[in-house]
Symmetry: D2
Subunit: 478 residues, 4 copies
């Protein structure tokens, strides 16, 4: 049944899952006024597979079986596969008006990592995880499932490891091992799209020591599994005017505090169970695939910051001023640098156990470049736009003829731009940079897929030091 | 009747003024669910004058009459007056939880500038504006009035002057001159606190040429003057949870698109009428006083960014990490640099016609330092806090025992900090940096009291070039 | 006679050319104590062609004739050609200890540009320049010549065009046109390698108007042409201790103020003569090829900054400190970003008239990234190294046993590094960043191959604005 | 004999001191071609005391005795004393063409610190150091001595403390204690002006533990003390053309590797001997006074960068370009921020044991602002100047009429500036930013008086955290 329709996808979410929103249990996530927006946003993925203009990009045919599947499930073997994957992620995000869709991206990132690490565990420790990973992969692919990934533990005191915390449950752990499976307890924070996914992958968030053995746990469960409870974040809810909030009124991603209240996981869905030596590797391998997803889905956001800046500069009549040209050039260079490094990370990929892994240096440098300059970009865009970002009138004022006539007359810009068009452009930039959604994007820039510091660590650790050190020694004559 | 009570202030706002909010005429601004918050915020000023702990700072005694007045009206004569004024602005803003109160600040900034420019006009052109300015000053001081200032025209194409626009009304202008007064038409944007002030000062926004004569107009009118219409911005309205939004649920400033629909202004309230040669000087002189207000009221905001960063770093258990120390040091240096330059601008003031004018270089360098680094500060604060800024649960989730128990257990931090306390700190930072209010503060940082580029222009223009050029010539031997 | 030997190259420079150094006419540049170093440096190119380990990279076989030539002359047709060219430039610069060799690079950059522009001129204006360009190309290739390019005019008042200057000779111009050729007058500044090249290409430096017709001139002449006089810069001369200055004692590039004192150029060597419409295009096209050379030859410099920083951090025992790791990561990201963008510019090349032109956006963004961060890199490297950069003892102190014993004992570093080895590393970094050579590299970073502002202009002008503007319009709903 | 003449000062340096330069023992430092320049530079201090235009600033009258002394010895009691001291340092540095004179500055910085710490030691430990400090102070003041301070140990592996090193002599230590005094061994690096000072103060460089007891040593000895050997740095020697190097041909500071080869120090000159608890305090207290000296002496350098940039922009005809105005504004803001923070550090001083100590936060933030932006300033200055910084002709070329005529004609700039004048300005900027002296200033910016990281540590440690944390708690409601 690969390539589900939007309706099939929505139907699958009515499964008794436990989701709380603002203190209340949600009956049907697809009909909820806020979560429903997130469901519709996620449905972009399912719609694309059936749209002629996107079908070629969205669907691939398995060379063995001849069956058609969502391209996200295509295991990359060569650079071209990664470039296509990147293009698919960029395109769906573009339709999502800069918000990533994520229902296939993150899950397949996790599955690719699990393939690599399960193989390593099986070879080193004699476990038998790889067949389970393969079975789960087939299950998700065949049923065209939406998949979430829970990685970040609540962590308590971040300067201590799991076993050193005041409270044993600050990291998700195995509290019981039974013949047919394991029982897990704990919580994960800011897991995205859990209210509207089908399956939830759970993986560790950091390196572990032998003392942390019970925290070395990974598994995959349906989101209606008993004991699994989601507390959805109310952040950013409630923008219903498409005029005032052209993006966030239509697109939304839900994050939850995801509770594992002694959840039973059957053995065939357990993917790590005490192998603390591989916890860090699994965490890191997933993140590397996921950062490639990240830099791919940031591209429409960068394009929109640049495009709206060019337009508002024209509308304001300032596009020839020296400082404006400087800021526009900065924005273009910023966007294009991330874009070129993203392509480079696919072009310079390395093959590991048959899977094409994007180049770590390129991915992390691209991500760091994006993240460490994002607030600077916001400053420039807001600077070019003007104070109307937060002082302008609203949709109803434009519609009321008593006030609308003034807005049309007085808020017009250069080159005959009408008050309405200028206000729409300002509202777009406001939605993108100054309100809840702007703050959401800014926080994602810094924290999603790993923090600035995590990226720096990777860059420093993975760098081929000897190449440049030997050159320095030669020149120094030592 | 100097030193009004909060109630007297509120009563004065029920005067038939024309204010629209989201398309509807507002009957009583003091009772409006959104504008009422702004009224209560502004009332901080009136409350302080009657609070023993703030009375000495808030009130001054006129040495001539012996009467008591709000200290904002004290015309600065020496550095100490400016330092006290700065301290008063900082203190009221502190009570406003980083939001400036503004109901006296901006109006007196304007009155100080009018004193200086009216005198110059009268001396150079034989006009008689200074007595009018003095009378208005006494009127505002005696009646302890709340004053707004409308300066920024809608501007149309910013690369052209008023008389060069496609539309003659893109800058406020005189459309008729009658024996008893003038008739003005046009609109001003992002004028703050107009819905809850008593008097509105109107001044030009830029240098003008002789062709722009009719645009060289300044005056002061009550906010219920016929033809004066306000379209209030809906931006940032609707945060009612003190838990989720500890600042913006309590404090608000309203901006309006302020329409002058052929408003008649009687002669005694006309303060410039065609003297285009002084339009730029009035604009600039006001802005210089107002930027001193600005750097004074930014200090609590900087303190709060720093203080909340220190606390959240402790709660997260990361305060000893190298990169965290680096970011905290940056925030401290940033905040203290602005603070020291602000003090310096008062200490290095110059006396013009008996008025102590803050040092232009210090004011503008302080303002530019603040503004050009603000987004960097946001990045650091968000970085230290974590993704929970935009993914955390809400007030109702904490109150519902089914979900609240998980939040208490899992969102606790280092050093025994409870989930609730940590969430409160995160919500404070979220309100301050990622939502509507955060976006409002960020936009203000760049645009309020003049843009980054306006500050740069002033710094370059006012600098004593000859001092350093002659030194360079001497060293170069030319 | 392609692929000359080092001796043949040196012999060719003893041709009566007029070169002044510190006020004196130089008899034989190959034997001059300073210029001789530059000659030896340039000879790296000729040596490489005969070294087995570099032969494959340095030499190519013409598919038509089967003859062997220096690879620099290979006209790029596909990405791979550009990647090889980049690798060759990087490798020879690496042997030059971060100093580009340039004797073939810049001349072929100019020849590629001349091919493109001559063809355009011939097609549009009916001139016959392309055959002359081809003949000169064959001449240089067959004789394996070293070629310099003079582009930057002395410019006088940079805010005015050539014909608007107080002095008619601030840009090189045609002062006479005779049957057999033209006579040119003027001067070019900072033309590199002229004292040790064979041929000199001269091209315009900017867009010209019809009034500037006589300034639209391009030609190629041997460096011993009568009337051609070189005043070599004494900057950075005189470092003879290999211990103290491991790079600049061995490697040098000469720049000259190049005077055209009514120089006669025969017609077959005239490549532009009044076609002012194409002056800007020729200037720009050359620069684009030359910036690709630039980003290629910057790579060893970036590697050396990174490699020496890693080593000195280890020697100082500080490589685990948080701030040190931060700075090292910054350096790595900086170097690798330029490297990846350089590769990208070759991969994304476009074909123009059969010549593969590196991607303009990638080239200019790479160059701007390099240049605008170079001083920041210097700061980090100097920071990691310590004050000994400018306070350490010298070679003779180490050799004198009275003082040498103290240096060995006291200047040793962590991990058993000897005083001598640590001092050598410090001297390398000092040579690279704090002395004449360091200042030379820093100035080159900003000014060579066009300034920061020139690169910004190109980025803004060449960007495909419509792509992102239409996306912004769609999201804004306008 | 207070207020020595230049001749008396020079004579005092001919005392048999052991100084090596480039491997050779120096007979008479005053006549040495390189060190002699440093002697002449230092003599600025002695000359000023006898110049009418500087006398009031340079000399003060002791209110007790009525005697006149160099103002450097005036122990600051109030803000005004610190402001005067800062002005004196700035003025002498200005005469030194941006190079600090230092022969009184650093020594008195050390004496002020010794007064404070000796008093603390005597009170806490019952020692009797304060009388010794006072006697040394009188000795130096009465004899108007030039004083150097040796603080930075060679350190070996910087990640380890003195007692943990592979080699016991990586920090200066007491190797013998005799009835009349102590014997010390070790070496200090980059001690400035030792070849041309009279007395050398030695103090610890860091916090020590009890295990480091023997490293807790401070003393003061004449520079001709037996066993004291100086190895002077050859860095930056040899610029003899005033045209090419207008600063460094006239002004120089010498640094040495200073060897203590079992030097005997009599008891009355021992100022710390095993009191490890106070080593860090002495190091830090000295540095705080010295950083105030530093920010004072950086002001002429900042003025010269700004002044020469303004002039060269005019000469190049680019001063009205948008990007040029941006860079000039940046330079002005940079220079003025450091200037204002410097003043503020004197104004906000605190009184400790009767000594006015500059405000730590202001001093360190000023120093960090200076240091962390210095390379950015260099980039802007070099950018505005052009490539002639490193490619221009030299003095002899200008003097030779054959070449000089071309230079005059072709290197002229805008507004009738002659080639010679423009070249002089370019050479000034080259000397200041691109050659040995430029590298020296850049390294000093980062390392002198403590590194960037040392300043950050101080800022973070000294900040009043509770003030802002309690504000954050109040706003957060916790």
């Amino acid at each position: 049944m690969a390539l589900r329709t939007v309706e099939q996808y929505k139907e699958s979410l009515r499964d008794g899952r436990v989701v709380y929103f603002r203190g209340h249990r949600v009956e049907d996530v697809t009909k909820h006024p806020v979560i429903g927006i997130a469901v519709n946003h996620a449905a972009i993925d399912y719609a694309m597979a059936h749209q002629p203009e996107h079908r070629d990009l969205t669907v691939y045919r398995d060379p063995g079986s001849g069956d058609e599947y969502s391209r996200y499930f295509k295991i990359p073997r060569v650079s071209e596969d990664l470039l296509k994957r990147s293009e698919l992620i960029e395109t769906s995000t573009r339709l999502g008006r800069t918000l990533v869709v994520l229902v296939k991206e993150i899950g397949t990132d996790c599955l690719f990592a699990l393939h690599l690490i399960a193989k390593q565990m099986d070879e080193k420790l004699g476990t038998e995880y790889l067949p389970r990973v393969r079975a789960l992969y087939e299950h998700c692919r065949e049923n065209d499932l939406a998949m979430a990934v829970a990685q970040t533990d609540v962590k308590g005191d971040r300067s201590r490891g799991p076993a050193e915390q005041d409270h044993p449950d600050y990291y998700v752990r195995v509290v019981d091992r039974r013949p047919g499976g394991i029982v897990v307890r704990g919580a994960k924070v800011h897991t995205s799209i859990t209210p509207n996914a089908n399956e939830l992958f759970v993986i560790p968030t950091r390196n572990l020591t032998e003392a942390d053995k019970d925290y070395a746990v990974s598994f995959c469960i349906p989101l209606n599994t008993p004991g699994l409870k989601q507390i959805a974040s109310p952040y950013g809810a409630g923008h219903d005017s498409r005029f005032n909030h052209p993006i966030s009124s239509r697109h939304k991603m839900m994050e939850t505090l995801t509770i594992f209240d002694d959840v039973f996981v059957p053995n065939e869905r357990v993917l790590m169970n005490g192998e603390w030596q591989f916890a860090g590797a699994l965490a890191k391998t997933f993140v590397e695939f996921h950062r490639f997803t990240a830099i791919s889905y940031k591209l429409p956001l960068l394009d929109l910051l640049t495009g709206s800046s060019l337009l508002i500069a024209e509308q304001n009549g300032i596009e020839r001023a020296g400082h404006v040209r400087e800021k526009l050039t900065w924005l273009i260079s910023y966007a294009e640098t991330v874009r070129m490094l993203t392509k480079m990370s696919a072009i310079r990929c390395t093959l590991k156990d048959g899977i094409a892994v994007p180049d770590t240096a390129a991915v992390n440098i691209a991500k760091l470049h994006f993240a460490s300059n994002y607030h600077q970009a916001l400053m420039h865009v807001q600077d070019l736009t003007g104070g109307l970002l937060v002082t302008g009138p609203g949709e109803e004022d434009l519609k009321n003829p008593e006030t609308g006539k003034y807005i049309e007359r007085y808020l017009g810009g250069a080159a005959g731009v009408s008050g309405e068009h200028r206000l729409r452009m300002i509202n777009l930039i406001s939605d993108l940079t100054t309100g809840d959604f702007g703050g959401y994007q800014a926080t994602l820039a810094i924290h999603a897929e790993g923090s600035l510091e995590a990226e720096k660590l990777t860059i420093l650790r993975e760098y081929d030091r000897e190449r440049v050190k030997s050159y320095a020694r030669w020149v120094a004559g030592v």
